[in-house]
Symmetry: C2
Subunit: 308 residues, 2 copies
């Protein structure tokens, strides 16, 4: 099970009742955050989520509205008595930006590990998450992220019984380890079925429509996508500032065949956003407006039907 | 007339419904801010005040909760199309801290002038404000500020008539300029009475009780003072972390003979603050709890009684 919480939905600047766009996920005791703007720590508290389990913070890029909350977040995590290392992931320049911002957060009770993305597309495995960073099309280097919880294959009990492996060894094989029993060697692939469908969320702000986005969001359970402008006449502005309209985001969702899309990263000028949604849903039906604190619980697909 | 707005009341970290402690004042078209923490720009919007007229931001010290909102504030002021220079005042190190934080706010449409305080007590005159910075007692170099709107003496019309100065020259003398008329020279002091009582606000956070604070707050119309802890048993903690209890703040207010005091910079652990106020008012009667967005309009004392 993966919990996701869209902490905020603002682009450019935080507003009363609209925090800056940021995502937080919880999986198996480890939390992950994407972007941390001014006020994001307040949004975490409002959502009732905890600072202590945040093991990873990914940054899309270094415009202030996506990273200005980092010093305060680090201090608050320190106050929450974090001792374990924290991994920060972001485009090149991360170490420089973090070092500069830490002028006001120099002393922390935990280690910070900065990981700079080197490739246009790069995969990281951390705390049970598969994180794919993929470059998008903004006016500075900017990445989207696909977060996956992979699911291993089913344990084939009949197979294990045929091999004559005692039940108390089954768990070891399930965890991916090899055993030796009565002079014979058993490997996990002998008793595990093929990997099953996992959970997949794609998060992307600050970009024009991009092939890399469509590719990396393909068949996602949830696409959280920027829609800076709702008014169709703001398409020129979207092109100028390298953002998307609601309709462009909907076309991305459709092309990527995602199951559901939430729009976020709204322009401060956006009001009455719901008025524009019928036309968005003409393009992609399962499109929803993000709102601060919007949560979802994503589960592995129910595959009880195929139990042998 | 001086408008003051206590934008937030939190110490250490921002909370939902409790922004970080910051003060904003408006006088004669120029706004001044003291401290700018994470979320302060949201508090400005909530108060309904404007970014454009902020000409001066003073910093007490460089702990994150007092300056972490600066990059976002600068960008928002830029978006509000500010073109005029902005003056920042703070303890030594200001230039270094501002330069570091601007890694995420490098391009602004206005100039920033950093003024580092050199003396334990130093006076600045800016945009009609008299600003006195005075060093207090925290675990890093920290200053309190007294903001004054000085008031010139009354124009003595009878005196001007006796000199035979035509009425159309009176305004020039009132503004402090000298005139020549029919071969004679008239200076302002010939027609202006002695300076009258102005408006005075003292703002102080992050300190133990200090003589410099009592001295610089003497007879202020309003003292906005830190009270990190309300519980009497937290006195030891207050001493350890160089803060004050409500009762210590009340004694400062009493010793300084201020007219009114607002408490602020509350510990995140503080709840039911009103329960502690009766004992605070036993020490200093006109003590009030600060709250986010608390405003006052301070006027020159009514001196109609002494009109001759």
């Amino acid at each position: 099970m993966l919990d996701v919480c869209l902490l905020g939905t603002a682009g450019m600047m935080p507003l009363p009742y609209r925090y800056l766009t940021s995502l937080m996920t919880r999986y198996n005791g480890s939390s992950l955050m994407i972007d941390c703007g001014e006020g994001t720590q307040i949004a975490v508290k409002k959502a009732g989520w905890s600072f202590h389990p945040i093991d990873t913070i990914c940054f899309t890029h270094y415009h202030a509205d996506h990273i200005s909350g980092l010093p305060g977040m680090l201090l608050t995590m320190g106050n929450a008595e974090r001792k374990e290392p924290l991994t920060l992931i972001g485009p090149k320049g991360l170490q420089k930006v973090v070092t500069a911002l830490r002028v006001i957060a120099p002393e922390l009770p935990f280690e910070i590990r900065c990981v700079e993305i080197q490739e246009p597309e790069q995969v990281f495995y951390l705390h049970g998450y598969k994180i794919t960073a993929f470059m998008v099309r903004h006016n500075v280097t900017c990445y989207g992220y696909t977060i996956e919880i992979e699911r291993q294959g089913r344990f084939m009990a009949q197979q294990a019984q045929q091999y004559g492996i005692p039940k108390n060894y089954w768990g070891i094989l399930q965890k991916g380890d090899t055993i030796e029993y009565e002079g014979r060697r058993y490997t996990p692939d002998m008793v595990m079925g093929p990997p099953r469908q996992g959970i997949m969320v794609t998060y992307c702000t600050d970009t024009r429509p991009a092939e890399s986005l469509v590719k990396n969001a393909a068949h996602a359970d949830l696409l959280i996508c920027e829609g800076m402008y709702a008014e169709p006449e703001k398409l020129a502005k979207a092109k100028q500032y390298k953002h998307m309209t609601f309709y462009e985001a909907a076309r991305v969702a459709k092309e990527a065949s995602v199951k559901e899309m939430w729009l976020t990263h709204f322009s401060p000028s956006l009001v009455r956003a719901e008025d524009y949604m019928p036309k968005v849903r003409d393009i992609f039906e399962n499109a929803h407006l993000g709102r601060d604190g919007k949560m979802a619980e994503l589960n592995f697909p129910d595959d009880s039907a195929d139990i042998s």
